[in-house]
Amino acid sequence: MMLTKTSWNKRIIILCMLPAILFYLLLGIIPSFLTFIFSFTNISGILNVSWKFIGLANYKEFLLLQNYRDTINTIERTIIFAFAVTLIQNILALLVALLLNNNMLKGRNFSRAVVFLPSVLGVTVTCYVWTLFFTLDGPASTFLQWFGLHSSFFGSQTAAFPLVIFVQIWMSLGYAMVIYLAGLQGIPTEIYESGIIDGTTPSQAFRMITLPMLWPTITVNVLMSVIGSLSVVQTIVLITGGANNTDTLAMRIYNSAFGVGKQIQQISGSTLRQGYAAAQSMVLFVIILIFTIAAQYLMSRRDKQI
């Protein structure tokens, strides 16, 4: 085993590491810790207002007082959003990746490019594309009229939420697909070939070879999807601003803290109540933690089976 020590001055190595570490401390760890602290205060976004520690008052207000029903609805929506997006997006992405992994398929590269296109276009463009598509005179409306149906899409209390979920999935499918393509390409073809010699059917091949070998990729992707979709805010802000039953907890936080988005209901008001928003952030954090641990647990049980 050769020497692993180099003759560089340790100091310069450390010096070069410092910027990244400093950034992380100042812009990552400390603010994160401060969110915890802020949640016990009534700090406001308006600078000259004095603030003080108010203990658990924020939490009580959010979780226990008359806002209870509203809070439950919001959290429910947040969880449904995360579930729906993660599940549907990952299943579809995997299927599409499988479809487009076949080397002999004509137009394979073109199709891949098309599916990834939303990521390139950006959140803003994508959201506005769909806002237009689902207007009262748009293609979607016309399509529904063929069936004698009608909907006010993003203006409707019931349809807006599923539609937002749809847009979110449409937007992020490409990225997930690419990750699965990478995973699929990491599986050596010899395994499939020996499988064919042994006489396995395609569905058996999928269950016994593809799925197990892809499991780490799936796990990582699902975890990232869960965390991501619980914190999604851009899509909702851009399309509905949180109106019509589309506000999730993440959206509420931004509304409480910065007044972003339409006035949902005047319950918490949005006079930039950042202490309250910090408390909401902590609740969201706990939800994310629970989901992450649950997903980890479920995924690793499957691992043991394999």
Binding site: T6, C16, L27, N109, G183
Partner: protein, 272 residues
């Protein structure tokens, strides 16, 4: 391996469905942007017959897209470059385990992805530090040396042979010079993957631009569209023209680099 015809038919049908689902909405937008306002109100979904290019000029001037686009490009360039550099100089010592604390640092960065969001305190900090409504402040919210970039770099560097390190240092090659002239070229796939992903992330960023910026001339393109939408929400032909203008450069770049971009991201994903 030849497949049965039925299977192929199903395959190509699915591919067609996918292409329609992903391209039709975009086509509709493009189509709308070419109509006059009157034509659009008359028949919103028909194919345009009377091509009206004035929309584009109108949108371009009214939405100040040149200003916003320049801002966006600037933000992307600076944030991506700085983030990559930060990650690089942190990843190398971590991958080579130069210190006893390296695994602790690495774990700390992983744990960081699961911490509560620090947006609110950061906003307060920036406000009090005079960074609100500045280019610097906005960029700082996006610069980071950690996350996916760090992990990818670390795992990539682990595969690079250590012999060069020792040889170079003994020959008197400085540390910084070594990293920049030898390691970086060796890491091109990883760097380009992360550069592309980061660039897409910064270009797309809209929420922070709403929270941290309020002066018009600092806005990135995403914020510009947000404002424009607020002002001209009813005039769809005008607004879609703005959308097309904003999307067009990205799409054109994408058409040329598409093979490269997707392959880079796939390569990046492989290392996971």
């Amino acid at each position: 391996m030849k497949s049965p015809i039925a299977l192929n038919v199903v395959r190509y049908f699915l591919v067609a469905v996918i292409i329609i689902v992903f391209l039709f909405p975009l086509f509709f937008i493009f189509n709308t942007s070419l109509k006059t306002e009157y034509d659009f109100i008359k028949s919103p979904i028909s194919i345009v017959t009377n091509i009206h290019l004035a929309n584009y000029i109108d949108a371009y001037t009214k939405a100040k897209l040149d200003l916003y686009a320049l801002n966006s490009v600037f933000f992307v360039a600076v944030v991506v470059a700085v983030s990559l550099l930060l990650s690089l100089f942190l990843a190398f010592p971590l991958a080579r385990r130069f210190f006893k604390s390296t695994s602790f640092i690495y774990t700390a960065f992983i744990a960081g992805m699961f911490l509560p969001s620090g947006t609110i305190p950061m906003w307060q900090m920036f406000l009090r530090a005079g960074l609100y409504d500045t280019r610097l402040g906005y960029m700082l919210t996006m610069i980071s040396g950690g996350g996916i970039t760090l992990f990818l770099f670390v795992s990539y560097i682990k595969y690079l042979p250590k012999d060069f390190d020792e040889a170079a240092s003994i020959d008197g090659c400085g540390y910084i010079r070594y990293i920049l002239t030898i390691i970086v070229p060796l890491m091109k796939p990883a760097i380009s993957s992360m550069a592309i992903l980061s660039a897409i992330g910064v270009w797309n960023e809209v929420i922070n631009s709403i929270i941290y910026l309020s002066t018009d001339r600092l806005f990135p393109v995403t914020r510009g569209l947000y404002v424009f939408r607020g002002q001209y929400s009813v005039q769809w032909t005008l607004f879609t023209s703005a959308l097309v203008i904003v999307a067009a450069p990205m799409v054109i770049l994408y058409i040329f680099l598409q093979r490269f971009i997707i392959d880079s991201v796939i390569t990046g994903g492989l290392k996971f």
